[in-house]
Amino acid sequence: MKKLINTADSVVEDALNGMAAAHPSLLVRDRVVYRAEGPRAGKVGLVSGGGSGHEPLHVGFVGYGMLDAACPGEIFTSPVPDQIIDATRAVDGGAGVLHIVKNYTGDVLNFEMAAELVEDVRVASVLIDDDVAVQDSLYTAGRRGTGATLFVEKMAGALAEAGAPLDQVALVAGEVDERSRSFGIALTSCTTPHAGKPTFDLPDSDVELGIGIHGEPGRARGPMVSARELAGAAMEAIHGDLPLRGDLLVMVNGMGSTPLMELYIVFAEVAAFVKGKGARVARSLVGNYVTSLDMQGFSVSVCLLDDTLTRLWDAPVETPGLRWGR
C-alpha cells in the first residue's frame, strides 16, 4: 500500500484538517463539517454523512445550495449518532432538518438512532437507493445509495435555499431518488488504509460489474472490454430498470483513481447510448464525485429531469466539490 497519509488511524482527522485549512467557508468541529456562517433562520437544514473515502461526497458538498453539515465516519464506516445529533442541532434554523441517508444498514441505523434522540428538532429523512446492481427484494438490504446522493443533495439543497418547508424538501428529495438510477464497474479494487492491501484481487483480464462505493466486489465478474462495451453494460442495466426518456441529468463518475480523460471517453459512449434510446443529455457531470478511495472504475448515474428538477439543478451552488452560479 502506498498512500499519502501519516498514519492509518489519522487519515480522516488529517484530511478534515486539510479541508478546514483549504476552505475558509467551512468549519470543522467534532468530526462534523459545517458551513462557517452557520444556520440561516427559517431555512431547512440539510445533513448528510456516511463513511469517509468517498470524497468529495459528502464533506465537499457542504456550502450554499447544498448541505449545511456533513458527518464523516471512519473509512467506509457510517458516522456515529453523536455526530449526527450535533450536526442536526447545530444547523436547525427553526424550520427543521432533512437527513439524507444512503441505504446501508450502518448509515440507516445510526441516522435513525440520532433522529430519535434529537426530539427538540423536527427531522425528516430521505433514503437514497439508486443502485440497480442490487435487486430490491426481501433477500437483500435493499438497493444501495450511490451517485444519486449527489443529485439529491444538490436539488434538495437548492429547494431548501429557496425557502421551501421541510415536508416539501423531503418530498422532492425522495422524488429525485425515485427518478435516479446508477450502476458501477470496477477495474481494480481499492485499498483501505487499515487493511493495507486490496480488498479483492482482480486479474487484468476482468472487471467487477455492479459495484458499490465501499470497495466491495460487485454482483458479478466479467471480462475487461472496451470503454464502449463497459459503458453499454452500465447503461443497459440502468435502462432496463428505468427506461430512459426525455431530458436526462447524466453523471459519469470516477471511483477515485480513474483519470478524467478516461471518464470523458466513457461519457462519449454514454451520450451515444442515450441518443440511441431517443432521450437527451440535458445536463451532465463528469469527474470524481462519489469515490471509493483509490479504486479505478466508474459509475453512471442518470436522473429523469422535469422542469422543476432542472431548475433546482441549475440553481447556484458554492461548495468545494460543486460550484456554479456564484
Binding site: 441505523l109 433477500y139 437483500t140 454482483r219
Partner: protein
C-alpha cells in the same frame, strides 16, 4: 456475578478482538467493506478506557457503559447492533445476577438486536452466532449446568453458529449485495460475536 466479571468480559473481548482484528477485517473484505476488525477494535478499546476511567459498580452499569460506548464510537452496522444488545441487557438484568438472569437478559439483548436489524437466523449475520449462544444458555439453565460450563457451551454454540454462516447466502447487511457470491465465506459479524462469547467463557474459566 458481580460487576468485575462483566468488566473482565469486556476486557477479554477487547483483547481477543484486537488480536483477531486482521482476521475480522479479512472476513469483511471478502463479503463486505474491510472495516469490521478496525471498527470493533476501536470500539472495544474505547469501552475499556471508559470502564477503566470510572469503574461502574453494578453489572448493569458495565453493560450500559459498554453499549453506549459501542454506539458512540463504532459506527457502521455493528456499532448500533452490538450496542443495542448490551444496552438491552443492561435494562433487563436483575441483581443479583444469576445464570438464569444472565441468560434471560442475554435473550432480551438478542431480541433487541433482531428487532433493530430486522435479521432472522439464516440471514448470515451476527444473529446466527448469537441466537445459538442464547439457546445454549437457556438449555444450560434448564439442565442446571454450572456457569462455567454454561458459558463454555454458549461459546461453542456461537462458534458453530459463526461457521454455519459459511454456506449461507446473505440476506442482510452489506454481504447481501453480493447475492450468491456471499456463499462460501464466514460472516465477519458472526465471527466477532463468537469472540464475544469466547471472551465470556474465558472470564469464568
Amino acid at each position: 456475578m458481580e460487576a468485575d466479571v462483566f468488566v473482565a468480559w469486556f476486557e477479554a473481548a477487547a483483547r481477543m478482538v484486537h488480536d483477531e482484528r486482521d482476521r475480522l477485517t479479512r472476513l469483511d473484505a471478502a463479503i463486505g467493506d474491510a472495516d469490521h476488525g478496525t471498527n470493533l477494535d476501536r470500539g472495544l478499546t474505547e469501552v475499556r478506557a471508559a470502564l477503566d476511567g470510572s469503574p461502574p459498580e453494578t453489572p448493569g452499569q458495565v453493560l450500559a457503559t459498554a453499549g453506549a460506548t459501542l454506539i458512540r464510537r463504532v459506527g457502521g452496522a455493528s456499532g448500533p447492533l452490538y450496542g443495542s444488545v448490551f444496552r438491552q441487557m443492561a435494562k433487563s438484568l436483575e441483581s443479583p445476577v444469576t445464570l438464569a438472569g444472565f441468560a434471560a437478559a442475554f435473550e432480551d439483548g438478542v431480541v433487541a438486536l433482531e428487532r433493530l436489524g430486522k435479521a432472522v437466523p439464516g440471514d448470515k449475520t451476527m444473529v446466527d452466532a448469537l441466537t445459538p449462544a442464547s439457546r445454549a444458555l437457556a438449555l444450560a439453565v434448564r439442565d442446571g449446568v454450572g456457569v462455567r460450563e454454561a458459558f463454555r457451551q454458549a461459546a461453542r454454540a456461537a462458534e458453530e453458529g459463526a461457521k454455519a454462516t459459511i454456506p449461507m447466502q446473505a440476506r442482510k447487511g452489506r454481504a447481501s449485495y453480493l447475492g450468491e457470491r456471499s456463499v462460501g465465506h464466514e460472516d465477519p459479524g458472526a465471527a466477532s460475536a463468537a469472540l464475544f462469547m469466547a471472551a465470556l467463557a474465558s472470564v469464568v474459566a
